[in-house]
Symmetry: C2
């Protein structure tokens, strides 16, 4: 089978053996935002047409391809949600030469009734953590996700606008003027930011504190961006811990970013581990096994 | 005398009677950021030269004119700071035809040693609240200030990057796409945002919640910007209250913005009142009375 994790800016395709092993992987910048209306089938053919020609008859897709900007707008599946539920709700789309189905995203509401949504992360989570007892999964990113899983189901989740807030605050406020945006990650600055997040006063106050610290020459340009990153990730982790997590927290994502989250979790004394690679591929494989 | 509140983007000049009454006021967009190096004396002449020619011999200036981007970089005066302290630290600058002095800004450190700074707000605060016993003053804005005053001194303060964060988040994240930026203030949306700030989960989570609420058509474009404003101001007020305030909180600033802060304080059940207008003029007058 072929599995595709089709995000906003990237498309990741996997060719999977009958036992779920990844035989080949391809990644392109043909994210959903870059596809013209009606261009989805052709993009699949351009990306994995040779695999289909070689006999693969099932293409299972997760991610933003199922959003209103994507191939077809699949309704969110409410939590708690399992592999069986995702398989049953997968939507078939017209395609010549193979069966193509799109896995829906998930929704839930917090205890105050505010909605939450994800598209694609549910597949990664169920790929990475199936078989776990109660656990917490964190997927860092522009829109970081923290999910609770129990008994093979995603029971609920929260999203934090951390990555986007970092970009907006570092690029479009006075904080950017005191940063060398090209500086490499600064572990000391990151640790200072995380430590600051654990103090009182609130995020908006901590943001100005970075400005004042720079005015007093108590932080350098090479350190400031990592401080801001640690500050925001620290606030995210603190909020997630306040809502409750079941350690070890399983981290899914790019190696460098999950390493930073691991450092922040260490500062809070919370055990964690990284998921095996290709979590999306494993999730798509497991959903495919359950397709009617 | 002449008093000038010289901020980053605006210059406000006051002609004051010997009893402190405001005889005339002028406002121009000649803020410090728009003045060429060496252009400060000429700007004073262009703005209030006629008042000097008519016999005013003292010009007292507060605000960013005393910053490293300004006329002369005056060192911050550490808290606690009084009118006497500000008068003694005012820096004379060369000027033909009048005595011109610049009032320094204030600095302090929070209990974790993180620095804080202000330039200009100290003069407004001491103008608005002298004679008060222990009180808390709030000056909303791009960099909102919350200060404690006691016995005629500013004893300490905190700054929140609220206004700048609003601009960056509404202008440069996905949140902007669900807002009608031109919509008038929406009291219902603002109240929803303040109420959300009082719930758990953290600001970064609340920011994504606005996105998800919009996806579910549970908030309109005309309401979303006011929701974000209420959310950020609510988080600022919550953080300030956690650090401790002495009500009634005295609000200083533009009428509409202080009204929004008043609404947020009402939601938290905290008494407040607005300062009399021309707080900067009153502060400059009182400092002038103490000049050697």
């Amino acid at each position: 089978m072929i599995g595709i994790d089709w995000g906003t800016t990237r498309l990741r395709a996997y060719r999977l053996a009958p036992d779920g092993a990844v035989l080949a992987r391809r990644e392109t910048p043909r994210g959903v935002l870059g596809i013209e209306p009606g261009g989805f089938p052709d993009t699949v053919r351009a990306t994995v047409g040779d695999w289909i020609a070689e006999g693969e008859s099932l293409v299972l897709i997760c991610g933003m391809a199922g959003s209103r900007l994507g191939w077809v707008d699949t309704p969110y599946l409410p939590c708690p949600a399992s592999l069986d539920g995702l398989a049953a709700a997968a939507v078939a789309v017209p395609f010549d030469g193979a069966v193509v189905r799109i896995v829906p995203g998930l929704s839930c509401r917090d205890r105050h009734g505010v909605p939450e949504v994800m598209r694609g992360e549910e597949t990664q989570m169920l790929g990475a953590a199936l078989g776990e007892d109660a656990t917490t999964i964190c997927l860092p990113g522009s829109h970081s996700k923290w999910a609770s899983m129990a008994g093979g189901e995603v029971t609920g989740f929260t999203t934090h606008l951390t990555g986007e807030a970092f970009a907006a605050l570092s690029g479009h406020t006075i904080l950017g003027r005191m940063m060398d945006a090209a500086a490499p990650h600064h572990p000391g600055g990151f640790a200072r930011g995380v430590a600051r997040a654990r103090q009182g006063g609130g995020l908006l106050h901590h943001l100005f504190g970075l400005r004042a610290t720079s005015l007093f020459n108590e932080i350098g340009e090479a350190e400031a961006a990592s401080f801001l990153s640690g500050l925001l990730i620290g606030h995210e982790v603190a909020a997630a811990l306040e809502e409750g997590v079941a350690p070890p927290v399983i981290l899914i994502g790019a190696e460098m970013l999950t390493a930073h989250y691991g450092t922040a979790l260490d500062a809070f004394g919370v055990p964690h581990r990284s998921a095996a690679p290709d979590a999306a591929a494993q999730g798509l494989y497991r959903i495919a096994q359950r397709l009617a």
